[in-house]
């Protein structure tokens, strides 16, 4: 099974290690794909070089635009700009207004740590229902747990659990990421998939949140970026080849 981790920081986005180090560690721990997070304002030009290096090691590199905004308007502007250049658009959560606006925006793919820096879980039933309607996935960020201890870790886990149980009730998607800022924060997807299981999700669905779901999300977004998929329309390459052959025969 292919495991993807769609939230890893590198030096350019506040992380500690270079892309090469991250790719080497991903290959070492057995990940099939990694999402390198860059700020939405940053240029994504160097990504093709990184992709070639990753492909040599058998890793699928995914570009993730991190939208970190102070207001809802700023967030929506950044999301619409980032949508055309990155494969995944992720919004930095924490503020309730931004969490809700992200859940209501179909251009957003992932809402990162909605409980970050809050006393409550950051999401309510309205947000989660919107997230389910607009295909916005809610993130379980392992780094938040890894870097906290005792009372703080307990509270963060409880908030995450509340969000995940709301996702389960309303059918919203969720995914587990390492949120790594260095190569030593990275974890294999199967280990991360144990977290939703401990939060009350079935084991199969927990494993999907680190494997099938991110793989499918990346595939759909790549098709959209390549112009092969719009809302309600999909172009099948095999079908066009078939019709071309048929035309030649005629």
């Amino acid at each position: 099974m292919s495991y993807y981790d769609l939230h890893i920081h590198v030096k350019d986005s506040g992380g500690e290690d270079s892309v090469n180090d991250i790719i080497s560690m991903a290959s070492r721990i057995g990940l099939k794909g990694i999402g390198i997070v860059l700020h939405a304002e940053q240029p994504f030009g160097e990504f093709s070089d990184y992709k070639k290096r990753a492909e040599e090691k058998g890793i699928d590199l995914v570009s993730v635009a991190l939208v970190q905004a102070k207001s809802v308007n700023e967030m929506q502007n950044l999301v619409s700009k980032a949508r055309s250049k990155a494969e995944i658009v992720a919004v930095y959560g924490g503020d309730y207004d931004i969490n809700r606006a992200a859940c209501e925006n179909p251009m957003v793919d992932i809402l990162l740590h909605p409980e970050h820096g809050r006393l409550d879980s950051g999401l309510d039933h309205i947000c989660v229902r919107s997230a389910a309607d607009n295909n916005v996935a809610i993130e379980i960020n392992f780094h938040e747990l890894l870097e906290s201890y005792r009372k703080r870790r307990i509270r963060i886990f409880a908030k995450m659990k509340q969000n995940i149980l709301l996702c389960k009730k309303f059918g919203a998607k969720f995914l587990v990421t390492s949120g790594a800022v260095s190569k030593w924060d990275m974890r294999f997807g199967r280990e991360l998939a144990a977290l939703p299981f401990l939060m009350g999700i079935e084991l199969g669905q927990s494993i999907e949140s680190a494997s099938t779901f991110p793989v499918e999300l990346v595939r759909l977004n790549r098709e959209k970026l390549a112009g092969k998929r719009w809302e309600g329309v999909v172009i099948h390459e095999d079908l066009t080849e078939f019709t071309k052959d048929e035309e030649n025969e005629v």
Binding site: R28, I29, G30, F142, L145, L146, Y149, R150, W184, D185, M186, R187, F188, R190, E191, L192, A194, L195, F197, L198, L203
Partner: protein, 123 residues
């Protein structure tokens, strides 16, 4: 006199988790054991750890491959898996614990995962 061994139907079912330590430098068994116990006790608490019936098998730890076996209760495998993810430092080096597989007997765990594993960073 010692108590008699329980019949198989009354014994608690176990699973054997094979893990690999990925680290900067070499780590010894004592440090690995300490890091795992601390992590499990911190994440699961004393009650949860006792329910997991954790046992780190000393004579199955391979120093060269940095691979070892943990015995635990069959219904606490995911709890132990998540606890192992919280290990950040072993001894004085950065480390990650990666699970290679889970097995029902120590023999098959050893054959399938420990003996089949390559040396670290060997191509």
């Amino acid at each position: 006199m010692e108590p008699k061994r329980l019949p198989p139907s009354l014994r608690t079912k176990s699973r054997y988790i094979v893990f690999e330590v990925i680290s900067d430098g070499k780590v010894v068994f004592e440090d690995v054991q300490k890091a795992i116990w601390n992590s499990v006790a911190e994440w699961l608490g004393e009650l949860g750890s006792s329910e997991a019936r954790l046992w780190i098998v000393k004579n199955m730890y391979n120093d060269d491959k940095q691979i070892g076996i943990i015995k635990c209760s069959h219904d606490r495998v995911e709890h132990i898996r998540s606890s192992l993810a919280f290990v950040k430092i072993i001894g004085e080096t950065h480390a990650i614990i990666r699970i290679l597989g889970v097995s029902g007997t120590i023999k098959s765990a050893s054959l399938k995962y420990v003996e089949a594993a390559k040396l670290p960073y060997a191509n």
